[in-house]
Structure formats: structure tokens, C-alpha cells
Symmetry: C2
């Protein structure tokens, strides 16, 4: 068994489809070498990288966000346990922030919608979140604009 993994092996081990892996490759989220045949060959640490990508997506980040996170890893060597630990540390903070937002949402749900006491345009619940930050498509920011 070789040191390098084929895309199929990586797909089986990570549960991520080969098409998605090629897409990540193309977007620069993961890197590969090429075998003589032109086939991609991956180093084993790519698995940890993919794990990180999947986790981060479940937390709600876009691939662009994830890419800039991954850039914090050293690129001159295989990331060490320490490198990952550092990254993960800032991550627990992000997750906590998202949890806090959900808590706020929960209380807002109760106060503003559930109880009936407030009309929408008087609601003062602030929006500390991603949705308002990324002002793109989608129902825009909430509250505080009237």
C-alpha cells in the first residue's frame, strides 16, 4: 500500500464524493500531486483537511471562508498537531458565537413573535450575525431599520 492516496481512496475514507474532491482541488482547498498517468495523488494529511472542511460547512461557513481559514496553516510543511490545535481553538469560539446567536434568536422568537407583545417595526432585537454582515441576496437585515 502506497503512501499516496488516489481520489477514490480519499472519497471512501472521507465520505466526500470524488466530484466534490475535484471541486475542492480546483478551488485550492486541498492540493494534490499527479501520478505519471495524470491521476491525482493525495498525501494522507489531506484527510484531516477534508475533515475540517466538512466540519466547518456544518457550522455554516462558505467555502471561501473555509479557504481563508486553511490559509493559516503552514504551506511549507505538513501541518502538525499543534497547527490544527490552533485552528480548532479559534473555531470553538466561532461555534460559541453561533450558539449565542441562536440563543438570541430563541429569545427573540419568544419575545417578538410568540408573546404577541411587539409589532415587528418596534422590535429592538439586534442582528449580530452573518446574515446582516453578508449583505448579499436573501432577506436583508432585520430590525433597527425602522
Amino acid at each position: 500500500m502506497s503512501e499516496l492516496l488516489t481520489i477514490g481512496e480519499v472519497a471512501r475514507r472521507s465520505g466526500v464524493a470524488t466530484s466534490a474532491l475535484r471541486y475542492y482541488d480546483e478551488r485550492g482547498l486541498i492540493t494534490s500531486q499527479r501520478a505519471g498517468s495524470g491521476h491525482r495523488r493525495y498525501q494522507r494529511p489531506v484527510l484531516r483537511r477534508i475533515a475540517f472542511i466538512v466540519f466547518a460547512q456544518r457550522v455554516g461557513l462558505t467555502l471561501d471562508d473555509i479557504a481563508s481559514e486553511l490559509e493559516k496553516l503552514p504551506d511549507n510543511r505538513v501541518p502538525s498537531r499543534r497547527d490544527w490545535s490552533r485552528l480548532s481553538a479559534t473555531w470553538t469560539a466561532r461555534i460559541d458565537a453561533r450558539i449565542a446567536e441562536l440563543e438570541l434568536l430563541k429569545s427573540g422568537l419568544t419575545r417578538c413573535i410568540g408573546c404577541g407583545c411587539l409589532s415587528l417595526d418596534r422590535c429592538q432585537l439586534t442582528n449580530p450575525g452573518d446574515r446582516a454582515a453578508g449583505l448579499g441576496p436573501g432577506p436583508a437585515y432585520w430590525m433597527g431599520n425602522l
Copy 2:
């Protein structure tokens, strides 16, 4: 000032674009009457409904999910405070579930990625979530398939 709101008024009060409101209307998430001119006219309680839609989206639900939630409201009369309370109650449970998932993710991040002790294919962190449930596109379920 009339009892009924124009789409522009609703947009200003809710912070949701008129195009989005028409889209919600088309999808049946909100209902409107028509003025003689053919213009949409909304009853004031639509604001609360829109509030609910935006909240639910921030919690992470699709418009389809939200539509079926909204169907639980009585359609023969304007929803009362009690009706909204009932809906909100099941919602705090949903939010708590999502929070629990994030907590799990956090611990998984630390255990599986941060600490370096595990290789991906041996990780036993289960996936109790939406991502695995909706087996559609996207990085599929994680763990437990090897």
C-alpha cells in the same frame, strides 16, 4: 392610514425586499388581497408571519420547511397570540437541537481534528443532523461508513 398595507409598506417595515415578498406570496408563504388596481394589499398580521419566516431562515430552515410550519396556523382567522405561542414553543426545541449539534461539532473538532489523536476513518463521532438526513448533494454523511 388604511388597514391594509401595500407591498412597499410591508417591505419597509419588515426589511424584506419587495421582490422577496412577491416570491413568498407566489410560494404561498404569505397571502394578499388585491386592490381594484391589481396591486397587492396585505393585512397587518402578515408582518408577524414575515418575522417568523426570517427567524426560521436564520435558524437554518428551508422555505418548504417554513411553509409546513406555517400551515399549522389557523387559516380561517387571523392567528392569535396563542397560535403563535404554540408555534414558537416547538421552535425553541428546534433551536436547542441545533445548538446541541453545534456542541457536538465543537467537541468533535477538538477531539478529531485538533488533538491529532484520530485518523478520519476511525472517528466515531456520529452525525445526528440535517446534513446526513437530507442525503442530497453536498458532502455526504460523515463517519461510520468505514
